[in-house]
Symmetry: C2
Subunit: 113 residues, 2 copies
């Protein structure tokens, strides 16, 4: 068992988008066999890339305010929202508030971002 | 894309332990292909079963206070803690506080609890 606070994991900047950082809290290093848990921080005004890939996202919003684009529509996000983005669906997360938009985002081990 | 608040999903009682309920927020119904996101509520004083199974857990603590047993030791839990329980390791979550212990717990699609 590994049990630790998510802030004990180093925050890494992403190379894909300004103002977006993540912590890989349970992944290959921890010998996760199937899927990877990351915690993302999106700064006010920042967005994740609007992109498409062949793996899914499972998301839980922890804090902040934002919106998600996916499947041709947008939905407002606040703490407690869950988002399932299926494989090959174009999507993007945007912080629309004044504080960090923080969320847990899981991908299969085969995914890369 | 499916985006909704976790409380929009029906809370179900587990048959395994008194005072433990869950919401399957992203699972087979949502056509999740690889892993399932559940949100657990453990009432004050209640515990999940101390058990073992051949799939892993990836957990993020949302609210409340508790402890987790795993790998022969116990760790105190508070919001922001993450827990990786590998396959075949005996484990148990206990609420040690006065409020609901709530956490996100992911399993592979092949897992059952």
């Amino acid at each position: 068992m590994i049990a630790r606070h998510y802030t004990d994991v180093k925050l890494e900047k992403t190379t894909e988008a300004e103002g977006v950082s993540l912590r890989v809290v349970i992944g290959e290093k921890e010998q996760a066999p199937n899927f990877v848990m990351r915690v993302f921080d999106v700064e006010p005004g920042a967005s994740s890339p609007r992109h498409t890939h062949d793996w899914e996202h499972e998301v839980f919003i922890l804090s902040g305010e934002g919106r998600v684009y996916g499947g041709g529509r947008e939905v407002s996000l606040s703490p407690g929202y869950t988002v399932f983005v299926p494989s090959m669906e174009e999507h993007q997360f945007t912080n629309t508030g004044d504080e960090v938009l923080r969320f847990v985002c899981l991908i299969p081990l085969s995914g890369q971002c």
